[in-house]
Structures are given as C-alpha cells and as structure tokens.
C-alpha cells in the first residue's frame, strides 16, 4: 500500500518538474502603448518597429503587442502593463503624462521644444531632435556655406549611409511611403526597446527605463552607437537638407566644436 502511494507521489513530482521546465520555455509577451493620432507618421514607424521586433522575437521567444490610445485618453489610461509608452502628443499632454506616470519610459516622438530637455524630466526619452540641435546643425553648415537655405532633419528618404538605405528601402516596401522624421523616431523607439528586451532580458517598465537612460548603445541605422543625454535627449547625427536634397550631415566635419554629437543641442539640465 505504502509503496503504491510513494510511486504516485514520485510520478506527481516528476510531472511537476517536467511542466515547470515547459513553462519556463514559453514565449514572453511584451506590451507597448502608442499615444497619438492614427494619421501621424510616427505610428507608421512604430508599426514598422513592431514588425521587426517580432521578426527577431520569433527566434528568441518574445512576442510584442501594440495598443493605440488616442490623445484624448492619454491621461486616464492604465499604463501599468506596458513596458514603455510612445507618444506623439502636444506639449502640455506630454508634460502631464511624464508627471503622472513616473515609473515608465515616456518616449517623445514629435516635440522639438527645448524646454522639455532643459527641465530634465526623469522618465522622458526624446527621440526627435530638439530645436536647438537643429539650429546648431544649421549654424555649423553656415560656417562652411554662409547664407545657404538649409534645414536640419532627423531623417531623410534618400539617406543611404550607415545602413540607412536598408531601412528606407524596407520601410517603403512595407509601409508604402517614404520614412520621415517622426516615422524614424517611432521606429527607433520600438527598436531600442526590443533590443533591450532581447539582449538584457528586461521585461518590466522600471528596469527598461533605467537601462535606456543609462546603458543604451543603439544602432539607429544612421551611424554610431546612440545613447541618451542626462536631459533625456537621444544623441544623434542630423541631416542637412537644401531644396529637398541632402547636402551634408551634422556634426559638420571640420567645423563642429567639439567634433562630436555633443556639438548639437543643449547638454545640461536647468539647475
């Protein structure tokens, strides 16, 4: 009688161990939220990023989902299950979101306002370049070619260097239009998040925020490893455009002081 019961126990034990191994091998589900208008090109970039994250994720047992939230619901949604929030909203909404949801990374995909950078919001990650970064890039170019009518951009559909060609090509193929600044920002925000999940096995919002702010080295397909300033601004090269055509990249070689990405924009928090 006793022997029979012990056998049953043993079988039960083995089953438990076996199923626990099965459970630990299952797919991790990762949720992202986009807050913004559906027509915004930032969403296209986010969706492209999501597609690519899942393409990588299928080989690694990670599955990414995206929820789209309208700006009207930005402040009363529950973000507790998301690993990060990607926003293309107005200045006031962004500032309020940053304040109200401190434990999660709030990506800025569209606002250039310098004040967002100098106030150093602890959970804000600005992918899109600031006005002062753009102004500095133009000023550098003007040292080489004074008076020329250039603008600075985060991205351009004709950019081919640093594997930009590959990104432009596959974005256009899949999304049916040329990638613009906001789309690149949306794509980059998703990719840096999924890269962090893949490499660091981070699955919660708090660790994701810390990792992105302090430990990131991201290939945005426009050059060197990218990371964030203490202001929350993503360091990046800018593209100088005249009459719709690319004329140069900033920092402008031979002119930029210092000759690094830190020659563009505001570096410090307002004390």
């Amino acid at each position: 009688m006793l022997k029979k019961n012990i056998n049953k126990l043993l079988i039960g034990f083995y089953l438990l161990v076996f199923t626990s191994f099965c459970v630990s091998a299952e797919t991790i589900e990762i949720d992202l939220a986009y807050v913004g208008e559906q027509e915004n090109s930032a969403l296209l970039g986010v969706q492209q990023g999501l597609y690519e994250a899942n393409l990588q994720g299928q080989f690694l047992g990670q599955n990414y989902h995206l929820d789209i939230i309208s700006p009207a619901n930005a402040l009363d949604s529950d973000y507790s299950n998301y690993i990060a929030v990607l926003t293309a909203v107005d200045l006031k909404t962004f500032q309020k979101m940053s304040e109200q949801f401190p434990g999660i990374a709030v990506f800025n995909l569209s606002l250039e306002d310098d004040i967002l950078r100098t106030t150093c919001l602890p959970n804000a990650l600005h992918i899109i370049p600031s006005s002062s970064m753009k102004a500095d890039a133009v000023a550098q170019w003007h040292q080489k070619k004074p008076g020329s009518n250039v603008t600075a951009q985060a991205w351009h559909g004709d950019f081919v260097k640093f594997a930009a060609r590959d990104l432009n090509k596959r974005f256009k193929k899949k999304q049916g239009q040329t990638m613009d600044d906001d789309a690149w920002a949306g794509w980059a925000a998703v990719k840096m998040t999924s890269d962090s999940v893949a490499r660091e096995n981070i699955s919660d919002a708090k660790h994701m925020l810390t990792h992105l702010k302090t430990n990131l080295s991201f290939d945005g397909q426009k050059g060197s490893n990218m990371n964030f300033r203490e202001t929350g601004q993503l360091r990046q090269l800018l593209i100088l455009v005249e009459d719709g055509k690319i004329v140069a990249e900033a920092p402008v070689r031979g002119v930029a002081r210092p000759p690094t990405l830190d020659s563009l924009g505001l570096l410090n928090c307002e004390k």
């Binding site: 080989f59 594997a163 590959d166 596959r170 490499r199 490893n225």
Partner: protein, 318 residues
C-alpha cells in the same frame, strides 16, 4: 585479357574526365561597380583578364571540385557560373531576389543570403534547382559552412543574430544574439568553433558551435573599424579581420582575441581570402579599387593590385 581492358578503360576515363581539376592558382575578384570579375595570376600577381559578368556582382565562390566558379549577380537576381580555366561563362540560373553573399557546401549546393527577403535559399548549382528556403532575420548577409557540412551560419544584419542551420534538414536549430550588424563568420577545420564579426559594435565573437554559445567576445578599439570578413590562418592560431573603413586588416590571436597588429591596406577593406598553403591573404579594398596581397610570414603587404571599380568578393582557385 578482360581485366586489363577494364583497368585501362577506367584509367583512360579517369584521366580524360579530369575529375579533380588541376587548380589554376588564379585569384578571382568581383568588381561591384564595373560589373566584371578580375582574374589575377597567382604566380605573377598581375591581372590577366577581366570577365563581363552582369550587373552588381558581389559574392563569389568555387565548386568543391574546382571546375566552376559561382558569382552572385545581385541586380539580375541570378548566379553566373564560369570556368576558371577558359574564363568562359558556362550558364546562369535565377536565384531569388538580390543575392549578395553565399557559401558552397561540401556537397556542392550553395547557400545564399537573400538580403531583401529575410531568407536564405539553397540551390543545386548544377541544375539551378531550388532545394530549400529558410526564413531568417532581417537583411541576411554572411554565410559560413562548417567543413564537415553539418552546420551553416547565416548572419542577419538588422536582427543582430547568427542563425545556425543544420544540414541536411535545412532548418534553424539555434539563434545566437551578437553585436550590432553581424556581417561574416568562419568555422575552424574541425567544425567545432566559429568566429563572427559585428560591424557597428566593432565586435569579434568566438562561438562554441557544439553548444551554440558565445565563449569570448571583444570590441576593436578603433571606432572606425567596422569589421567585415573574417578568416583563419592555416594553423588556426590567428584570425584576420577586414576592418572596413579603418583601412586595415586586423591580425588577432584566435585564442585570446587580442589584436596583434593592424596591417594597413587600401580603403574600405571588406573581402578576405587565404591561399590553401596559408602563405598569402588577398583583400578587396573597395574604395581604392585595389587588391592587397599580404605575406603571412611577415604579415605585411607585398603588393597592391589595381582591379575594377569597388572590388567586393574574392576567391582563390588553389
């Protein structure tokens, strides 16, 4: 009487068929922007000829029996095949979109990375038949095959992974996350270890292929060193890494992955090949339109050869 006849018939057949072709010693270079293959004489190290091959030739490889050279003609979505002796184009076959890099399996099949399609495709180059299609990550590029033919590594640049495919099943059995934009890989002779390069992080990884685990990784110090091709010295004590825009080939210890020396070559060095006797390494210096020849006894460049525009791939018939 019958026996003698049989033996001499066999001998005749053997000799006339030339089953194992006598190697020409030639070095073949694909010129991406000239749409040609440069033919370099292995003795004189001079360009003997140039073959018009098709639009945007990149990857190049040779059949196991040395009778045919394969070229990936990227813009035409095909593989062109020529005779290394006569330099005549023998045939071409459609290969799936934008073939960039490929490797030749010991069984004669070729494994191609289709950059635009997130796929690797396997073809029998004798018949042009598609053997298998394997879905991999974004922008597959590097292809390396173990000498024992049991494993194939495909690097997917934008998903930052090495996919390990097991042959003959032709399915992915392992996926290894590496640094940013992995470009190329190489196996040791015993097929148990592999090395790979990651361009953006300037990283070299050493992988235990039996367990599909990274056992060592280093980052090259030069920020301009975007490593691409990687090959082993004949004694497997050293690795040579094409250092892209650092315009150097990095000589490294295969065990510790320490950099021993940077060998200055031409501009934007991507392609590497080593002779069977291990004495010479040939590089393709894309932006200078040259091939540099490194003497491995001194690890210095002994000659720089002008070839077509933007030389990309290199293969040696020896």
């Amino acid at each position: 009487m019958k026996q003698y006849f049989l033996v001499s018939a066999c001998l005749y057949a053997l000799l006339s068929q030339n089953i194992f072709a006598e190697p020409t010693g030639r070095i073949f270079i694909t010129n991406e922007k000239s749409n040609t293959v440069s033919v370099i004489n292995g003795e004189t190290l001079e360009v003997e000829s140039e073959i018009a091959i098709g639009v945007r030739p990149r990857g190049i490889g040779i059949s196991p029996d040395g009778t045919e050279v394969y070229v990936a003609v990227s813009e035409e979505n095909l593989i062109a095949i020529f005779d290394p002796k006569t330099l005549k184009i023998l045939r071409k076959f459609k290969s799936g979109s934008d073939p960039e890099t490929f490797a030749v399996h010991p069984n004669g099949n070729i494994y191609i990375s289709n950059e635009d399609d997130a796929k690797a495709t396997v073809y029998n180059p004798k018949t042009g038949e598609l053997i298998a299609e394997i879905q991999v990550g974004l922008e597959p590029e590097g292809v390396a095959i173990s000498p024992d033919g049991s494993k194939v590594i495909i690097t997917s640049e934008s998903t930052n992974m090495l996919h390990v495919i097991t042959v003959p099943g032709n399915t992915i059995t392992d996926n290894i996350l590496v640094g940013s934009r992995p470009r190329a890989a190489v196996f040791t002779k015993d097929s148990k270890t592999a090395y790979a390069t990651a361009e953006i992080t300037g990283e070299i990884v050493k992988i235990d292929m039996e367990n599909a685990k990274i056992i060592k990784r280093v980052q090259l110090e030069d920020p301009k060193s975007k490593p691409k091709d990687i090959i082993l010295s004949k004694d497997e004590k050293y690795i040579y890494v094409a250092g892209g825009r650092s315009n150097s080939v990095w000589l490294m210890d295969a065990d510790t992955l320490e950099v021993i020396k940077g060998i200055p070559v031409g501009k934007r060095v991507w392609g590497l090949a080593i002779t069977k006797d291990g004495r010479r390494v040939f590089t393709t210096d894309g932006v200078s339109s040259t091939v540099s020849v490194i003497d491995t006894s001194t690890n210095e460049v002994i000659k720089t050869i002008a070839v077509g525009k933007f030389p990309w791939g290199v293969v040696i018939d020896d």
